[in-house]
């Protein structure tokens, strides 16, 4: 009897080990983005390690130090560079390095004899509060000539005002009854499952990270709840995170002012609106409000919507991938290409104006 139990247990253990091995092998090529802890920046992608992201889109690529997504830092230093900040849309695990708009922009500039390095330093979950809060650090690290900040409606609204954010993130709050804003910054800490997995179980990292990525979805399933809105598979009507958000309900003017002051007004905002396949050129109220607020502070405002009619005519949506939903979730290579074209035109306009 005991022998039988031992034999069965042995078989089950062998099957489990084999499952973990094969699962890890699959995860290493589908959802694998190793990170390291940086005391200043928090958890950043591991320099030199190739990441694979095939669960939404078909991305892979390499980061260098300080969370810059490119194979190496510019030979002549980063001074005067175009620093690209943003959230998961600019982190863009969903596309390859060659498809990333920062890479495309630098290539286009180079082709036009403009030798300006473009350094993407986006971090998933960042909002306007984080861009303001980290301004001095990033300016000190990279000495950028101009800063491109990719934003959506929620970056000025709920994302920038969420109190319960994890360490390494910032949020706004009202400092007094007069409504003056201040930033609450939570310094980075090396905690959580991600840190534990990276440091303790590097040999099992991909499967742990993949399972962690699915955590919200599975928890929602366990509790019979609707899926989290940010999951691409759940993005039904809106491709841009929280649907129905009202920018007018937030002190966007003050946020924009803080942003302009943090970067000495050398900011280009890249705005990502929703894409309506039937009315691609229609501007929303939120976009109008943000554009006016930005212009009032001397911030350059570029909306991806300007390229929407062109994309629609070509039968392309800027969001969604062949392995997720049409026009849902993060932006694809068409969106990145459109952004690179728009930013190139804007940079040229700025350069001509300066000269």
């Amino acid at each position: 009897m005991l022998q039988r139990i031992l034999r069965t247990g042995g078989k089950l253990l062998a099957a489990l080990a084999l499952t973990l091995f094969v699962g890890n092998l699959i995860a290493s090529r589908t959802c694998n983005c190793p990170t390291v802890f940086d005391p200043l920046l928090g958890r950043v992608p591991k320099p030199g390690a190739r990441f694979y992201w095939k669960v939404e889109g078909n991305g892979d690529g390499i980061w260098t130090s300080n969370g810059v997504r490119r194979t190496s830092l510019p030979e002549h230093g980063s001074e005067g560079c175009l620093l690209v900040m943003g959230d998961s849309y600019t982190e863009a695990l969903h596309v390859t390095d060659d498809e990333h708009f920062a890479h495309l922009l630098e290539k286009r500039l180079r082709e036009n004899n403009i030798q300006v390095p473009v350094l993407p330093v986006a971090r998933s979950g960042f909002s306007v509060a984080d861009y303001v809060s980290n301004a001095s650090l990033y300016r000190k690290l990279f000495s950028p000539g101009w800063v491109i900040i990719q934003v959506g409606d929620d970056d000025f609204c709920n994302d920038a005002w969420t109190i319960g954010k994890p360490a390494g993130y910032a949020h706004f709050r009202r400092a007094d009854d007069a409504g003056k804003l201040e930033i609450v910054n939570l310094p980075p800490q090396n905690t959580g499952l991600c840190g534990l997995a990276n440091d303790r179980f590097p040999w099992l990292l991909p499967i742990i990270l993949f399972m962690q990525d699915r955590e919200n979805l599975v928890l929602a399933w366990v509790k019979d709840r609707k899926q989290p809105w940010f999951h691409a598979e759940n993005a039904e009507e809106s491709n841009r995170r929280t649907p129905g958000i009202q920018v007018a309900n937030y002190p966007v003017d003050q946020e924009m002012k803080m942003l302009a002051e943090a970067y000495d007004k050398r900011v280009i905002l890249l705005y990502l609106p929703q894409f309506d396949p039937l009315q691609p050129g229609r501007e929303t109220e939120n976009e109008t409000l943000l554009r006016k607020a930005a212009q009032a502070q001397g911030i350059h405002f570029v909306s991806l919507r300007e390229k929407f009619p062109e994309l629609a005519a070509a039968g392309q949506a800027p969001y969604g991938f062949v392995n997720t939903r049409f026009n849902a979730g993060h932006w694809n290579r068409y969106g990145h290409q459109a952004a690179a074209d728009l930013l190139f035109d804007e940079y040229q306009r700025i350069s001509h104006a300066v000269h």
Partner: protein
Amino acid sequence: MLFTSPRYIIFLAVTLVVLALIPGRTPKKRALAVASCFFYAAWDWRYLGLLLAISVIDYWAASRIAASEIRRVKQRWLLVSIVSNLGILGYFKYCNFFLENFNVASSRFGFSVATINILLPAGISFYTFKTMSYTVDVFRGRLQPCRSWLDYATFITFFPELIAGPIVRGSVFLPQMDRVIGPTAERLAAGSSMFLQGLVKKLFIADRMALVSDTVFATPGIFDTATVWCGVAAYTIQIYCDFSGYSDMAIGTARMIGYDLPENFKMPYLSTNITEFWRRWHMTLSAWLRDYLYIPLGGNRHGVLMTYRNLFLTMLLGGLWHGANWNFVLWGGLHGCALTWHKVWVKRASPHIALPALLGWIFTMLFVMVTWVPFRAKSFRDTMSILKSMAGFAPGRYNWISVWLFYTIILCVIAHFVGWLIERRQHQNTASVWTGWLCGLLGAGIEDATISGPYLVLRRVTVAGAFVVAMTLLMLYLFAPLMMNPFIYFQF
């Protein structure tokens, strides 16, 4: 309480533990009836009374039919059963449909009738058909009436097949009531294997394909021809895996409890003609329509033309059974035409022209795919828009072809190959080298002794078998959309 939800898994586990702990055959059955009522009440407790009322009416009518020797009295009680079942079905399912159509017709005369706010009771189409077949079978003398109402209520409320079938007849289920139910090691192993197969079909394939088909059917006018074809192909796979996955889970759950439910799907997409398709698709409904509609209409007993008429009418009503919508009537009508056409072909042309099986399969699949369009589309207008796009007329501009569709097709081809091996083994009654090798490796056996059809079930622990199960669960965790999508047939 969806079969794919954690709540159902907990409910099932508790039910099985209770059935294992309660001693005695009758108390187990009572506990099962209580669990079934709880399951139904979890959907909507207000309609539990309706379900129990139907069971009382039909139990009473059947016992009166059996008690009487006079045919006219028997007929009267049968009429009571049929009128009450169809009346309830008609009121809840078709009342607003008729009122809306009446309003459309009468609008030119300037009057209309207000529609009624009715919530469709879950599973009403299935359990009314189930109860009607019982009284008809008793009337025809093919079935002895149930001696106890509680036994009958256990049959009617049996939760695995209550909401969306298979449509189990009394003649199939009631003889099993003498069994001592409750989980055993063998039942659990077989039932959970069947359940897992259904879970994979639903979570891994159907819900994934829903992402594709829902997008295309939501805004059909914006996509190009290739995308629309892919959307229709995705729905073709989705509806099969959704419904047959549900049936697998129902059959697996019933098996864990100790009952056998009849086979509902037999790889219908391998059919080489439309008649074969209907012998393999939703088999319990096809058989029900044949025995309780087509044959009473006259079947093939009154000449060729009447046979064709009966066939067409049966399919038309079969379409309407799916839902109070002209699209379903169109779908049923098209299948009725195809079945009639196939009968004509077999009679007139097939003795002279031999159609290769591959060509037959292509024609059948194309027809089935095209007819899924009215079945799935929200309106007649959408149906026409999609059909136009498929034909290459007025297509939209957007091209979006999901890569998951191709992965799924590969998976389906592999699964159908294994299914074909099992079916071949069953027909030839010999163990082929392939199936023997597969079963030996997985520690599995082929369950084909029961009415549930052939299933690959795990019988002993092997490394390969445990690996396949663990890997399946891991892949479900990592890749299933987990969307809490209700089963398509729940709406019927």
